[in-house]
Amino acid sequence: MNSSPIRVLADAPGTRSAEATAMAVPDVQASAHAIVRNIEAVIDGKHEAVETALTVLLAEGHLLIEDVPGVGKTMLAKALARSVDCSVSRVQFTPDLLPSDVTGVSVFNQAERRFEFKPGAVFANIVIGDEINRASPKTQSALLECMEERQVTVDGTTYPLALPFTVVATQNPIEMEGTYALPEAQRDRFMARISMGYPDNESELAMLDSHDTTSPLSLIDPVVSGAEVRAMMSTVRLVFASQAVKEYAVTLARATRDDRDLRLGASPRATLQLMRAAKARAALHGREYVLPDDIDALAVPVLAHRLMPTSRALGHHHQDSGPLLQEAVQRIVAATPVPVGVQSRQ
């Protein structure tokens, strides 16, 4: 066996080597709209969450959905996966889940007298990791390593993961017993964290009707193919970010590092992911260029979960850092001048 050979699994629906050609921005917007409409047939009244989820998918990032049980975290992940014609796997994280359950394992085949790789749950385009904070740290890091590397190395053989590859992890913020909170270094790997929030009255009423008889997920048909998603991703990479907007993103990130309420600010990786997400959002809105508004809109989902409040600020908020961090990011955004760009104000 060669040292660290790259083995492409035959049944993987997309590969890194197959670099898709970019599609036009309006087409991206149209496809994205189709996906959003599709998902919203299942999830009522959560447009922003849906849009952010799709943004993260197109920006080739990973999504952390943090909320109380039963508000549709898994539903959103599943609907997103089903809307795209690609493979989906779901892992229910438990304390006894092993790393190899996630990544895969080499099994000795008696008949052929050799080791055979049994791919784990991550070998799918969209991996839904439910209650990720219930798994042991060892298992968590196995998944997070895959997320970052986009490949799995087992017994010296490296298996690249599919493209698109997006992990949609959910976790429950309230339940503390028997959980292993994600360390900040690992939270940093998620491009964005969103929370679903409770539906409003109307949405909840509509949900009672639609979800009563049949499983709504069965109604969802894929609207874009995996190839199309790859083309959309290529387009997103080509979206233009002007110097002014880049500076804006950097300014925001720096501001989080100097903020009086924050012990830990945004990492450079956060800045990078913020810009990537902003590009995806621009494409989603049919633009070939990023606006400061894209940055503004994504600042909270992309930055907030990476920050750590000071203990003083935290004490003020009774241990629940989520709202505090959201507030801090909003305040920073509100206080940072918007870049004017090439020409100064006349």
Partner: protein, 785 residues
């Protein structure tokens, strides 16, 4: 948990105008100026002061708002004050009426001199002549700069009350009754308002000064504070102010007792008083007369003792000519009046005077003095009025011998005297242009049928002594027409009650209105005899006390000189030459004609009546005033129209560049932003263009306007492309003319959607012109949740 709210505008100290404090100071100063009301007649001076204060305070606030460094603001305030004074008082000597030149300062100096003169010499309420108005306006302007600096630059508003005590306290020093409680209370109230506003401003500032940085406390005390609340502090300081004001006012009557204004034992007569005439009246009203002097004389008829002569008008008020004294005119040798003809009989008399209580720089002597001996100190005589005064000593403790001439002209000599007057007495025919008609009318009615100046003079004297008029030292004060100005004379002629000052002044003024040179003498009546003369020469000792203070007119007759008359009924004695019995004669047949106030044909101008001279002067000053009003109006129009014009120019320039294609979306957006600012929409650079557009299209009145919304959207997209897209795409987006059209649509919609006040403000005072506004708006950011 509270949602984050962007800090409400947090203006930096540079751009803070402190308008509330400015208004409070304005109120305080106007109220303080109003406290001078008992001292001055009319309301014109009040407007002048108010106007000055307003201009100074608003300009300093404006400069602050424009970002002028706070410590420079008082200097700019002084500059504005000087410019304003040059415009209003500079008599056109300023460059473009505004910038003071050396000439302007000469004019100012003249105004200051005449103002100080007339303050010295006028009664209260005084006529606010130009000099006084100038002093008041410049004084209150300086006080305005000072209180502005104290209250706003240094932020010690409590101290700002002190300069305001000047106008509030002055009436207390001058008038018997002390400062008026009413104006004190008003001023104290205004002071309280100032402190209250200051407390509010301070609180806002403290709340806005958020601690910065990691080390700053997370929770800053906004709701809780130690010590008394700001209102409590204001009330405390204000109460102290009111109490001290009341104490001061209670103390002021005592001031009057010892002030140099009054006369009597040990105090100076006419030293630096408000007015000789007022002093005279006050002395006459003394319940217990103070001894003034005693004398013995060789004269058959005891002489009047003259102190000074009021011979010209400042504004509408009699004043004594000063500073004319020649140092060579020592009292050892006083030349005989050159105009006195030899034919007039005169007797030399000698009078020995011992001063008992008079303390003044004017020496009481009989008229037509030729020599004074025995005086201590240096005394000089005035060649015009023959008054004797000293610069370095006073009358107190003096005793001296006076040699004087006792004139005995006959009625015939006076009647025949020429009405061609020498140059030196011509000023004695000037009268204020603005004088009550009753003076001229009465004079003409009384003297109708008289043929000569002398007959006219006698007729005037008889009219005043005739019984219609009553001698009364209290009525003028009670009715508020004390003093001797022409306004007072008008009132006196109507009410027909007054004392010597009024009678003398009325006769002199009426004589002048008829073209007869006239002036008013102030001095003492001959007094009362206390002991018989012992041996021959004298007629005994006479005592003069403060009740003998008197005032009488002197009229000029060619060949004789200045001749006294006695129009006050019941006081003094009518000179022999002025007795009606003597004057019965062929008056109307005499060849001399009564000069009229109208200029006569063929005159060389030297004998022109006072009226025409004054009317000429009046018309000059009228056209001057017109010019000044015009300049002021132009200034106001410029001030009001300037911002609008500047804004319009900027807009048109941008539009032209857009239509020409030399400017693009950035220019269009800048113009849109300025229009929004003009219409009171906050625009900040903390907001993305998209957020501004969303806010604009959400404005009431604009939200239903589809065309405007589309145009706004096109502008927005063009700008975003210009700013944030690839450069090669941005160029394509710069389609100036379309942008200009869209811009028109949006700004018109914005204008329509605004309320009336905002629209007027947008046209007249476009806020976008002030960089400070932009700077201020940038400090806060509005975000839609």
């Amino acid at each position: 948990m509270t949602r984050f709210e962007p800090a409400r505008s947090v203006p930096g100290p540079r751009h803070q105008a402190y308008w509330p404090l400015t208004w409070a100071l304005l109120l305080l100063l106007v109220v303080g100026s109003g406290a001078l009301a008992p001292l001055l007649r009319g309301t014109g001076w009040m407007w002048a002061m108010t106007f000055t204060v307003t201009i100074v305070l608003i300009s300093t606030a404006g400069f602050r708002r424009l970002g002028v460094r706070r410590s420079f603001v008082p200097i700019t305030g002084l500059g504005v004050l000087l410019t304003f004074l040059t415009l209003v008082f500079g008599a056109g000597t300023g460059l473009v009426w505004l910038i003071p030149t050396p000439d302007t300062f000469t004019v100012f100096q003249g105004l200051i001199d005449s103002g100080i003169d007339s303050i010295r010499q006028q009664s209260t309420p005084a006529a606010p002549v130009a000099g006084i108005t100038f002093l008041l306006a410049s004084g209150v302007g300086l006080i305005a700069v000072l209180v502005d600096a104290l209250a706003i630059t240094l932020r010690w508003p409590a101290l700002a009350g002190i300069p305001v005590l000047i106008p509030v306290g002055v009436p207390g020093l001058i008038i018997d009754g002390g400062a008026e409680i009413f104006s004190l209370v008003l001023a104290a109230g205004a002071f309280l308002v100032l402190l209250w506003f200051d407390a509010r401003v301070r609180r806002t500032e403290e709340a806005n000064q958020l601690p910065e940085g990691r080390s700053a406390p997370r929770v800053f005390a906004r709701a809780t504070r130690l010590g008394p609340g700001p209102m409590g502090g204001a009330v405390a300081v204000g109460s102290i102010g009111i109490v001290s004001a009341l104490v001061l006012s209670a103390a002021t009557p005592a001031f009057t007792e010892h002030s140099p204004v009054g006369s009597g034992n040990g105090s100076l007569l006419f030293g630096s008083g408000v007015s000789p005439m007022i002093d005279l009246g006050q002395d006459l009203r003394r319940p217990r007369p103070q001894p003034a002097l005693h004398y013995t004389t060789t004269a058959v008829a005891q002489p009047y003792f003259k102190l000074l002569t009021l011979d010209r008008f400042v504004g509408t008020t009699w004043v004594a000519s000063t500073n004319r004294i020649n140092r060579d005119n020592t009292v050892q040798d006083i030349t005989r009046s050159p105009e006195l003809s030899k034919s007039v009989e005169s007797v030399e008399t000698t009078t020995s005077v011992v001063i008992d209580g008079v303390d003044t720089a004017w020496l009481p002597v009989p008229p037509l003095v030729t020599r004074v001996e025995g005086l201590g100190g240096s005394w000089y005589w005035d060649s015009h009025t023959r008054a004797i005064r000293s610069f370095d000593s006073s009358t107190l403790g003096q005793s001296y011998q006076v040699t004087a001439l006792e004139l005995k002209p006959t009625a015939g000599q006076l009647r025949d005297s020429s009405s061609e007057y020498p140059q030196s007495v011509l000023p004695a025919m000037d009268l204020p242009t603005l004088r009550p008609d009753i003076i001229d009318d009465t004079a003409r009615a009384v003297t109708s049928g008289t043929g000569t100046p002398y007959d006219a003079a006698v007729a005037l004297q008889d009219y005043l002594r005739g019984g219609e008029f009553a001698y009364d030292t209290d009525a003028p004060v009670d009715d508020g027409y004390d003093g001797g100005g022409v306004d007072v004379i008008g009132t006196f002629l109507e009410l027909q009650r007054g004392y010597c000052v009024h009678f003398a002044s009325a006769m002199a003024v009426m004589a002048r209105s008829l073209g007869i040179p006239a002036r008013v003498a102030v001095g003492y009546l001959p007094g009362t005899k206390t002991s018989d003369g012992v041996a021959g020469a004298g007629a005994g000792q006479f005592n003069i006390n403060s009740n003998d203070l008197h005032s009488w007119p002197e009229l000029y007759f060619g060949g004789v000189g200045w001749v006294s008359f006695e129009p006050t009924p019941g006081r003094g004695r009518v000179p022999a030459y002025a007795r009606p019995a003597d004057s019965a004669g062929p008056g109307s047949a005499s060849g001399a004609t009564l000069p009229t106030s109208a200029p006569r044909a063929g005159d060389d101008g030297l004998t022109t009546g006072g009226g025409s001279v004054n009317s000429a002067a009046g018309s000059t000053s009228g056209s001057d005033a017109l010019l000044r009003v015009g300049a002021l109006a132009a200034l106001i129009v410029c001030l009001m129209g300037g911002p609008a014009a500047a804004r319009s120019l900027r807009r048109q320039g941008r539009m032209r560049r857009l239509r020409r294609g030399s400017a693009g979306a950035a220019t269009a957006w800048a113009e849109l932003g300025d229009s929004a600012i003009d219409h009171a929409v906050r625009v900040t650079e903390l907001e993305t263009p998209r957020e501004l557009a969303r806010r604009l299209s959400g404005l009431p009145g604009l939200d239903g306007d589809a065309a405007a919304a589309e145009a706004l959207d096109r502008l927005l997209v063009a700008l975003e492309r210009h700013r944030y897209a690839r450069p090669e795409e941005a160029v394509a987006a710069d389609q100036g003319a379309d942008l200009a059209d869209d811009l028109d649509i949006v700004t018109e919609a914005l204008h329509r959607a605004s309320d009336r006040a905002a629209r007027v403000r947008a046209l007249t005072l476009p806020a976008s012109l002030w960089p400070a506004v932009l700077a201020r708006q940038n400090s806060g950011r509005i975000r839609n949740a």
